[in-house]
Symmetry: C2
Subunit: 338 residues, 2 copies
DNA sequence: CATGAATTGTAGAACGTTATACAAAAATAA
DNA sequence: TTATTTTTGTATAACGTTCTACAATTCATG
C-alpha cells in the first residue's frame, strides 16, 4: 500500500516561481543573498502549492528543527510544567519539541537518546536523566544538550538548569525545627545510583546540613521510599509505628507526602499536631483536604523556558557551558502549621 | 561549531565486511536474498564499527521506524497508562514512539501533526484529537493512523480503539439510580466542538439514555465544568447550592469528582449520604480519603497496546478500517455507597 | 547433461534538501 | 569612464540510505 500523497518539493516551487532550486532553499533558511522581490515570489509559490519542507531530506545535510526532550516519568505531575516552559521558550523559533519517555530504566533511556541522535535532532533537553555522567558527556559531545534537575555546576560538556535543591531542603528543615519538631526525619527515595548530581541526593544533603547547623545528630534520620506505592506505604507505616516516631517529616515529593497522610490517618496520628509534614514541588494546591500541604515551590515553567533558552544559544554556537540555578520558595500550609 | 562526530556509514560497514553497500542495506532491513553467512559477516562488522543507521537518510526512501503519538493534555493522569500500552505493543518491533503535545488547541495540534508527517513518521496514534473529522481523514490518507478515544465505528480512513463510553455512562447512571438517587445530574465538560465522536459527548448521551429508560425527564440534567479549575469549582458550588441540589452526581472524570468533594465539604454536604458521586477513568485508588471514589475502570494500557497492534497491522498493509470497542467496568467505592 | 528456476549478490539511480563555488548584474569609488 | 566591490542568483556535488533491475551462481528437474 503506502499512502504516497506525492509531496510538493522545492523543485516544483522553484519551477513555479521561475527561480533556481538553490534560491528556494535560501528563502527557506532565510540565508544571505535573496532580494526582497525574489523572497516575495518564492513565498507566494510556496503558499500557492502548499509546500512543506521534507524534514528527513533537510536532516541529510542541514538541520531537522527538532528538539528531543527526555522525560522519565510521565506520571510525575511536576513535569508538564517544565514542558510548558520549553514550549514557550521554543515558540516562534520553528523548532518542534518531541518527547521521549525513558521509563526510569537506564537501557531504555540510553536507547531513546541514541534514537534521538540517529534522528538528527538539533538539540536535547534531558530531565533528571538516569544515565551516568560519562555517558551524558559522550552524548553532549554529539549533540547540543541541556540537562534539567542535575546538579553539576562544574560540568563543561553541557548546560544545566536547576532550582537549588540543597537550599530548598534546608528551608524545609529549618521550618520544621522552628515549628517545634524534635525528631525530624526525611522521607527520601531509594535509587540504584544516587550521586551528588541527583536532586534528591542534594535534598538529603541539605536536610542533614541544616540539622548539623542546629547541632542535631544526623544518623538514621533518612528513610527511603520506593516507586512501588504499596511498599512505600509499608515503609511509612513502619516509620510512624516505631518506638520513637518522628514529629516532623520532610518528604522528597508531594506524592509521597500524600501517602504519609493516608498512613497517618490509619494510625490515628494527627497532622500537623503530632506530625508536621512538608513536601516538595508544590504540585497540589487547594485540592487537598482537610488541610493544605506545605511544600517547596519551584516553577517548572521557568526551568523549562530557561532550558530552551540555553539550548537555543548552544545550538546557535555557544560552546562554553552555562549553569542556571534558581531559588525555591517555601509555601507553608496546614500540614506543618496550625 | 556543530559537533560532527563523523558517524559510521553503511559504506564503511560494507568495506569492512567485504560486501556491497546494497548487501548491508538488505541485512539492515532483513530483506530477501541474504545468505546466513553474509548476514553473519555484516552483523559482525556492524557491531565492530558500532554502526547506527541514519534515520534521516532512511526516511528519504524507506521508513523512519518512528511512531508519532498525539497527546493533548500532559496532566491527565489517565494518559500515561495508554502510553505504557503503546510502548509494550511496540516492544521488539524497532519502532520508536515519540510524543507530541497539542495543548488542546486546534492550531497547535494541526501544526504538530503536520510536523510529524513532515518528519516521515511511519504511523500516528492520536489520543482524543480536537481536529475535525475531514481533517483527520486528510491526515489518515497521508499516514497510517489509529485514533484513541474517538467514537466513529463507520470511519473508513483510520482505525479506532475505544472503551464504550455510552455504555459506561449508562452503568454509572443505573448504579446511582439503584442507590436511590432521585435527582441525578451529570457534570460534563464544556467543549467548543463536541459531536458524537467525542467520548464525553457519548457519556452525556449514555447518561440521558439511561434516564429515559427509567422514565426520567432529561432536560437540564447536564451541567458543564471547565478546564479552569476555579471556574469549575464555582459551577459545582452553584449546582450544589441551588434550590434543588442533586443527590447523585455522575462526573465526566475523576479529577472533577475531586473538586466535587472539595465543594461538598465546604457546604457541609455529606458524601455519599446526601450526595453520591461516580467519577470516570478510575485514576485514583487507595490514595483518596476518607472514602474511595467510585469510578468506571477502563484500562488505558489495553487501549494503548490495541492501538499499537492496529497501527502495526495498518503499516503492514491493511487498508480496511478496524474499530475495537472494549467494555468498561464500574468500580463501586465509598463515594456512592455506604 | 541440458535446461529452467531459485537463490545470492551487485551496480547505480533516486529520494529532497543544503551548501559550496562561482557567474552575472548592480552599485560604488576612483 | 573604468575598476572595484557588493549583491543577487545559479549549477551541482554532496548527504546515507533504499530499491529496482539485473548478473552470477547454485539448485532442481527432466
Amino acid at each position: 500500500m503506502k499512502q504516497t500523497g506525492k509531496r510538493v518539493t522545492i523543485k516544483e516551487v522553484a519551477e513555479d516561481a521561475q527561480v533556481s532550486v538553490a534560491a528556494v532553499s535560501k528563502v527557506l533558511r532565510n540565508s544571505y543573498g535573496v532580494s526582497a522581490k525574489m523572497r516575495e515570489r518564492v513565498e507566494a509559490s510556496m503558499r500557492k502549492l502548499d509546500y512543506r519542507p521534507h524534514t528527513a531530506a533537510r536532516g541529510m545535510r542541514g538541520k531537522t528543527y527538532t528538539i528531543g526532550i527526555l522525560q522519565n516519568d510521565l506520571r510525575n505531575p511536576y513535569l508538564p510544567n517544565i514542558f510548558d516552559g520549553v514550549i514557550e521558550g521554543l515558540e516562534g523559533t520553528g523548532y518542534q519539541p518531541l518527547l521521549g519517555v525513558g521509563q526510569s530504566q537506564v537501557p531504555l533511556e540510553s536507547a531513546l537518546i541514541n534514537s534521538m541522535i540517529d534522528r538528527q535532532m538539533d538539540g536535547l533537553i534531558m530531565i533528571a536523566p538516569r544515565l551516568p555522567e560519562p555517558e551524558l558527556e559522550r552524548i553532549a559531545r554529539q549533540i547540543p544538550t541541556c540537562v534539567i534537575a542535575y546538579h553539576h555546576d562544574q560540568e563543561t560538556a553541557f548546560d544545566t538548569a536547576n532550582f537549588d535543591s540543597h537550599l530548598g531542603a534546608r528551608m524545609a528543615t529549618k521550618h520544621l525545627l522552628a515549628q517545634g519538631s524534635r525528631n525530624p526525619v526525611m522521607l527520601s527515595l531509594a535509587l540504584p545510583e544516587s550521586d551528588a548530581t541527583n536532586v534528591i541526593r542534594q535534598r538529603e544533603l541539605g536536610f542533614m546540613a541544616e540539622l548539623e547547623a542546629h547541632g542535631i545528630e544526623t544518623e538514621n534520620r533518612v528513610t527511603y521510599s520506593h516507586f512501588d506505592e504499596a511498599r512505600t506505604q509499608q515503609v511509612i507505616h513502619d516509620l510512624l509505628n516505631s518506638s520513637e516516631p518522628p514529629d516532623g517529616l520532610f518528604c522528597w515529593s508531594d506524592i509521597v507526602a500524600l501517602d504519609t497522610f493516608t498512613v497517618a490517618e490509619s494510625l490515628n496520628i494527627r497532622v500537623p499536631e503530632a506530625l508536621a509534614v512538608v513536601g516538595y514541588d508544590n504540585t497540589f494546591d487547594q485540592r487537598l483536604r482537610p488541610f493544605g500541604l506545605s511544600s517547596l515551590n519551584q516553577s517548572g515553567h521557568r526551568l523549562g523556558s530557561e532550558a530552551a533558552r540555553l539550548l537555543l544559544e548552544r545550538i546557535g554556537g555557544r560552546t562554553k557551558a552555562e549553569h542556571s540555578l534558581f531559588r525555591p520558595e517555601l509555601i507553608v500550609r496546614g500540614s506543618s502549621a496550625t
